[in-house]
Amino acid sequence: MSQVEKPTVVPLEHPRESLLREERLPHIWCSGCGIGTALNCFIGALERSGLPLDKVAIVSGIGCTGRAAGYIKLDSFHTTHGRAIPFATGLRLANPELKVVIFSGDGDLIAIGGNHFIHAARRNIDMTVICVNNFNYGMTGGQAGPTTPAMAKTATSPYGNSEHPFNLPYLAAASGAVYVARWTTLHVRRLERALTEALLKEGFSFVEVISPCPTYFDRMNRLGEGLDMMKFYRESSEIAHGLDPRKADIDLGGKIIVGKFIDIEKPTYLDFQQEIQARMEGEPS
């Protein structure tokens, strides 16, 4: 094959370098993994949102996605497994000026941190939760988790998973989240816009990002490489804004319903606290 190949000289740095700890790159994520794309969209959303960056804190837990906090050049915290939300709650309540963002995976937020997740949503604590869902525990070898679709093969379910998975937008909406959206790593522009909206939303906002896991989930289920999964998203994702999230279940190989499902207004935990404080101060002693 004859082709003209000009080795491209890099005259400038990557436009998103200012928010990356570039000495840590290349990152640990596999070739074809979508977590890097989700992080890229998140950095774009941070720039678009216009939030003061010294007032933004990123919290993540353990897992492949949990490494994201280590690559963002902001105040970032890598907490213990499943405890990203309690840590972020403390951070938010101790310093109400901060914008707290949780960037973590499904195993961290929904499996071991599942109770923290539903209670943070119920309390409507002002934070943004970004959950990168790759349907299994990628870092430890591809075990089945609470988001693994029924009948999917994983390291711990070699003949197929006999459990029903969580439908994350439905879980978040039912628990009281004020903003719920789901996009895949293919929908980069829409994901960036959804993340911007979530960052600027008052209250508990939740964005699920469907990502390929070419090393474990996709290989064990013969779904191909990262690029094949991206093509699959292009063919089988269906945009349904405002859909009742209980209809957004994901089946193995079935269509993926994406869109913005919930966007409502509700007083946050800190709003109630301030009201109580104002009442107490107003009362005659």
Partner: protein, 93 residues
């Protein structure tokens, strides 16, 4: 560029022009940029980097419109585009 109908504002609207840059040591050869470039600028190269991943190269660099999709879809922060010569060009008919 071929239009099925000549746009009414073709004289006024200028098409941005871009150039693609690659940070070779970061690329992991996932081919997302090659597949999803809307104007087909990139192609897989026979060259590879220190880790053995085949790199994309701008096969049709003239077509780049600096849309930045490769930059945002790249999981490795390895590719980006910048305006070419800092200028915008008239669309070709």
């Amino acid at each position: 560029m071929n239009y099925w109908r000549k746009p009414l504002d073709i004289e006024r609207i200028k098409l941005p022009r871009g150039k693609v840059y690659l940070i070779e040591e970061r690329c992991k050869g996932c081919n997302f940029c090659i597949e999803f470039c809307p104007v087909g600028v990139l192609a897989a190269s026979e060259r590879f980097n220190a880790k053995g991943y085949h790199l994309p190269y701008p096969q049709n660099e003239e077509a780049c419109t600096n849309c930045g999709l490769c930059e945002v879809i790249c999981p490795e922060f390895a590719i980006y585009s910048l305006p070419r010569d800092g200028k915008e060009e008239e669309p070709r008919e």
